[in-house]
Symmetry: C2
Subunit: 486 residues, 2 copies
């Protein structure tokens, strides 16, 4: 999950995070559409059967293990991403989906390269201690020999600008932690990630030679966490990388004591020309001739560290397994369920835009889009941007998901990959699992298959299957949201 | 948590498990006491401050690490248990509790001994493959040389009795798994644990020479899980032990294929005379002269494998840290909060009975008892046996705990250690965290400090602090339950 691009939204949402299922729906829109007449309770038996099947005969963890073994590194444009696309297509066919196809997407191609090094330079000018390091996605390389400079530690862009004279020619370390007092870890992330996404541009603007950032995690350990960054058009790019929280604490403490800390940073990452990749699409055709459909998806690309197991192998598997559970249940489907494994969420969201453009002529028939991109932990429920009428209908459906621990509905975003569909008025839903462990694994070497618990993952698949099954079979489609201007 | 003794209750509760906070309270009791007049909402700010303090300045994980380092093995009657008692007393004083004291409890003393061995015997009578093994707590030893016999696999006591003629002289393997389709892992445990607690007696009754049991976990791995068992008075005891789920699957598959499986079991465990141990008690004195008090606790003893980190170091730390959070918040406390670290929950519950007897003359002043003995995972909420009026009041309090993810209240038990207080009409509350991972660690070598997530543990402490703080300060005590006949 590339949260940088929804950070402002997250900050907004954090104030609404208490809007659980017991809270009231968002304020009424000007026009109140007629709610579809249905009794959610009638579906409880089917929904609980889907959850039980996921727990006892499910394939969630086996599918995720297979993806992580087949394509553990699958950053957009890489060979791993190509293998992941092949895996997605093959798996959809094996699971019995229809209309399986690849939809072309041109994606950026950034490579980490061989050389990543951050070393302390001692008073004699010699390199000593090494610090674990990950270049941020999109960073330029250093010149041969790297950048050697003293470190200035700041906690905000405001402080950076106030200390402009000290910063010139230096290496800036952005060291504002995710707020541990914030119970909502995504909101805490949203409150810190500007340092990663915009830090290099801000530091370049005041004359810094490189930007380091404290990793986006509350865990105190030695793992750096990568993620996307962008250079503003008006600055000369400087190299930028993440260091571990422990290294950040150490260096900041030294500087705070008045010690001079000199570092040498060397990066060999590079951006190559865009390459052809694909979204992977498959369907369970609905029985209704209206052509109405629901989208469920996650993103197939992942950072080039760990296995991308939680981010977002879990979401891909949730989507695939939800479809498989519905198929193998033999339950009827009135509307079509379309599974989309999106490409390039992490550093471009080109798959999201491509899906929106490719399917422009049928967006009116999209009744709902659901994304899972918050990890494979025990479900809590869902978030949605739906209008108040649809919110209430979804709440009635979500309350059926108690046995999957997924019975909370709150106001919130759907996900980066389905985001563009909001322009067409499609109600968006995001799966929301427990988030306490997520950022321990996010974008780092710890995002591996062994960090995903089979039952926790399966509960998510079952919950998503249950929600999709009910909404696909409602007598009338849920009222749409107002269209948005682009 | 020794769930065997509440298994029948768990089975009963499983049908009620959907009674989350959105569901209705239990059926009305004959006399409906007047509910105390209060507005829970008035406490929201204080409660959320306690949760934030727990997350950002809390000591939960540090305290648990200290306990696990000081006394990782602390089965009743052991040297480790003595160290744990000393740790509890010392820690209470360090945290600033008042009236800190040890209350004597005579406890059973069972020792595993050096020799635990389960080996396959080949056609030539020679020992070959070894299987990981843990004697069940309370088991007798084998005779020198052990028991060598063929294995009969059964899934129920009914099947055992039907196959009595096959079983005589054999080693019985009880191999009914915890039901994976059951979303409530405690209910699934309740549906399988009779094999561990009563299997040896049932097997002895039909002439078996030893009883093995499939470990009580849904994880498929190589870790045996121990736990308590009891011999019925009318049988000659036979030795009994747990094997891993993988070993159970392997042996059962061989037997199902018609292969003859011969095993040699050797155990050197023994039961020694009862010894003196202690409950550890400390308080935050309330300002009200009524002497009314609330009890919060977990159990200090643990099985002699792993660290007892989740079971129940977490509950001890939840209780201690909840008190520390309240103390350091400087919030007023109308009623006394009493922290009790109970001894001997796992194999005797003597601490529970001892507390009940020792405090017989003040049970009328106990307004609530809360136990945490379900692990240190992310909170879900609480369960209670409270009467409908008190249930509704507690629900209003629990709904304040959204930021600790603990806002669900359901009907259920409080815990083994506080169980006797129900006789005196004290409403009991059990802390209920997420349970998907609990039985991966329960009673086995995997129950270690590194399996406890700092933030998940801290959320539990914050939630418990919040609930206790509000109930301690209600204008009137919550209506009590009817007294129970002994």
């Amino acid at each position: 999950m590339n949260l940088a691009r929804i950070a402002p939204l997250l900050t907004l949402i954090s104030g609404l995070a208490s809007c659980q299922s017991t809270a009231s729906a968002p304020a009424a829109a000007p026009e109140a559409p007629r709610p579809p007449a249905f009794t959610a309770e009638a579906w409880r038996g089917d929904v609980e059967a889907l959850v039980r099947a996921s727990l006892s005969q499910g394939r969630s963890h086996a599918l995720l293990s297979d993806l992580c073994r087949t394509a553990p590194k699958r950053l957009s444009g890489s060979e791993g991403a190509t293998r992941a696309v092949e895996w997605g297509e093959r798996t959809m066919r094996e699971l019995g989906l229809s209309n399986v196809r690849l939809e072309p997407v041109m994606v950026p191609r950034w490579e980490r390269g061989e050389l990543e090094s951050l070393r302390r330079i001692d008073a004699a000018g010699l390199p000593t201690e090494r610090f674990p390091l990950l270049a941020l996605g999109g960073s330029i390389a250093t010149m041969p020999g790297g950048v050697t400079a003293d470190v200035v530690v700041v906690r905000s862009f405001e402080e950076l600008r106030q200390r402009e004279s000290e910063v010139r020619g230096k290496i800036v370390l952005f060291n504002r932690p995710m707020d541990p007092a914030q119970h909502d870890c995504f909101a805490a992330y949203g409150g810190a990630v500007d340092q990663r996404s915009r830090g290099a541009s801000e530091a370049a603007r005041v004359g810094a030679r490189a930007a380091l950032v404290r990793s986006m995690t509350m865990a105190l350990d030695d793992h750096p966490h990568t993620g996307a960054m962008r250079y503003d058009a008006d600055v000369l790019p400087i190299p930028t990388a993440a260091i571990s929280t422990r290294a950040a604490d150490l260096l900041a403490a030294e500087v705070a004591r008045g010690e001079r800390v000199t570092l040498n940073l060397q990066l060999s990452c590079r951006t190559l020309p865009d390459v052809l990749s694909h979204n992977v699409v498959g369907e369970i055709p609905g029985s209704d001739p209206s052509g109405e459909l629901l989208v469920v998806g996650g993103h197939l690309d992942a950072w080039d560290v760990g296995h991308g197991a939680h981010d977002d192998g879990a979401g891909c598997v949730h989507s695939l397994e939800a479809a498989r559970l519905i198929l193998s249940s033999k339950l009827p489907m009135r509307r079509t369920l379309r599974v989309v494994l999106f490409m390039n969420e992490e550093n471009g969201a080109r798959g999201a835009e491509s899906y929106y453009r490719t399917h422009a002529d049928e967006l009116e028939r999209h009744v709902l889009a659901l994304e899972s991109d918050a990890g494979g932990f025990t479900p809590r429920g869902f978030a949605t941007d739906a209008n108040p009428t649809t919110f209430e209908s979804l709440r009635a459906v979500v309350e059926l998901l108690e046995t999957a621990s997924a019975n909370a509905l709150r106001v919130g975003g759907g996900g980066v990959d389905i985001g563009p569909l909001a322009r067409a008025g499609v109600p968006l839903v995001g799966f929301r699992p427990d988030d306490e462990r997520y950022f321990d694994h996010h974008h780092c070497e710890r995002d591996t298959i062994d960090a995903v618990h089979p039952r926790e993952l399966a509960l998510g698949s079952g919950a998503i299957a249950g929600l999709l099954y009910v909404v696909a079979n409602l007598p009338e489609p849920l009222p749409r949201n107002p269209k948005q201007a682009r």
